[in-house]
């Protein structure tokens, strides 16, 4: 698959290039444009295609690997992670949480809480749980 077909970057945007690339992979996985087992183009290929520093691409890939979206296939490169024990990959499992999040936001709206305030609440609860 040609890298330019998969990614597009805007160097002058405030969003770091590595995030632009990793966000696009996530989106492609969520929309099934990339299926489990599909290989991502190599770091070098993407770097030359998009004319960006290879470290930037490799940082995006590491981030995706850390989050379980892709996995390193030794000697072959990065491929979209197989569905794991829980059924689907991270992005798909996240999708299943969407109704619960919508419900949360609706109730937050009733309480006149802004989305940002909800985010910080969620962040706080996560922090508290991690501290336990």
């Amino acid at each position: 698959m040609a890298a330019d077909f998969l990614f597009q970057v805007f160097p002058n945007s405030g969003l770091p290039l590595y995030r632009q690339i990793s966000d696009q992979v996530r989106r492609h996985v969520a929309s099934s444009r990339l299926a489990p087992g599909d290989f991502l183009p190599s770091v070098r290929q993407v770097a030359l295609e998009l004319q960006v520093n290879p470290m930037t691409v490799s940082k995006a890939y590491s981030l995706l690997e850390r989050d379980g979206v892709v996995e390193l296939a030794r000697g072959q490169g990065m491929r979209v992670a197989q569905r794991n024990g829980a059924g689907d990959n991270v992005v798909e499992r996240q999708e299943r949480l969407v109704p619960a999040v919508e419900q949360l936001l609706a109730e937050a709206y009733q309480l006149s809480l802004t989305p940002r305030q909800v985010q910080s609440l969620v962040a706080r609860i996560i922090k508290e749980r991690e501290a336990r």
Binding site: N12, P16, R44, M55, T56, K59, S120
Partner: protein, 310 residues
């Protein structure tokens, strides 16, 4: 120029941290009483592409000249490729490439002769690479260098600095005189070097858009010191503009960590921080019962914000 496949590039950034090609410690330099560098520390890991940013007159050229042992610091130590920069051995110079802001070549010599003459100084010289670049960049090889345009001269100087495939390539405003096509071509060459993995490039510029693609790290030279040195992506993650709206009047000055600039008008404030954390946004929201909108900034905006006094 062929590019080695970098399938193992995921680990490149970790291994690169191991060794510094350039190490500057406590370097000060002044010219007739005007301080340019002030106890500056700067350490460049091997295998990185570093963009050195600074306003006109910030001292970028002085820093690079001290780094290369072309200027002697008043105080401090400079270690280059494992040696003292001021007493650099001929062997170390074989691994060094440098293009100054206004290259001085031999005006009476033809381009091809300058190339052959330069090549004779090096143990290793990639003739194919040089021939390719001369052709790609349309440098007239039979012309005397004295008759070349500023852009052609800069391209030739670049070719001369690339011929021996140096371990460290130092470029002072390399694209200043190049047209957009040549600039794109030049950035491509730097990226090809970067894809190799173990070669280091340091280039100074005040054109932030060149840096965005090609550099993986950025160093900001300000007030004689490196005020920021880190990954470009991290810089963009950390420097943010916050638009704060509160139901109550906000204080005239908002104390924040890493504050770069603020403008408070009644219940609204626009502040820039260089140290954004999720906790910070939360803190502002609870303290002022405010809503905070985080705005991303591109490198040019970040550069401007860093040069504002809070």
């Amino acid at each position: 120029m062929s590019i080695p496949d970098a399938t193992a590039a995921t680990t490149a950034s970790e291994t690169a941290e191991a060794k510094s090609v350039l190490e500057m410690r406590g370097v000060s330099k002044s010219f007739s009483g005007r301080g340019v560098l002030d106890r500056l520390n700067f350490s460049v890991p091997a295998g990185t592409v570093v963009g050195l940013l600074g306003k006109n007159g910030a001292g970028k050229t002085t820093l690079l000249r001290c780094a290369l042992g072309l200027a002697r610091p008043d105080y401090g130590a400079v270690n280059l490729l494992g040696e003292s920069a001021w007493n650099l051995s001929a062997a170390a110079k074989q691994h060094l490439g440098y293009v100054p802001q206004s290259p001085q070549l031999y005006p009476w010599m033809q381009v091809k002769h300058v190339i052959a003459y330069t090549a004779s100084f090096y143990l290793h010289w990639n003739r194919t690479l040089v021939e390719n670049l001369v052709e790609r960049w349309e440098i007239p090889s039979a012309r005397r260098t004295g008759t070349l345009s500023v852009g052609e001269l800069q391209k030739l100087a670049l070719v001369l600095a690339l011929g021996h495939e140096p371990e460290l390539l130092v470029l002072d405003e390399p694209v200043a005189a190049l047209d957009p096509t040549a600039r794109r071509e030049f950035l491509k060459v730097v990226l090809e070097i970067a894809a190799g993995g173990n070669r280091t490039v340091i280039f100074s510029t005040h054109i932030t858009s060149d840096l965005e693609r090609v550099a993986d790290r950025v160093a900001v030279l300000q007030r004689g010191r490196i005020e920021y040195f880190g990954e470009l992506g991290d810089l963009k993650d950390q420097v943010k503009r916050l638009s704060i709206t509160s139901p109550n009047a906000l204080p005239e000055r908002i104390a924040l960590p890493g504050l770069l600039r603020q403008r408070v008008e009644g219940r609204q404030a626009l502040v820039t921080t260089r140290a954004l954390t999720p906790g910070l946004v939360e803190q502002i929201e609870t303290e002022w019962q405010a809503t905070v909108e985080v705005q991303d900034l591109n490198l040019e905006e970040i550069f401007l914000e860093l040069h504002e006094d809070a």
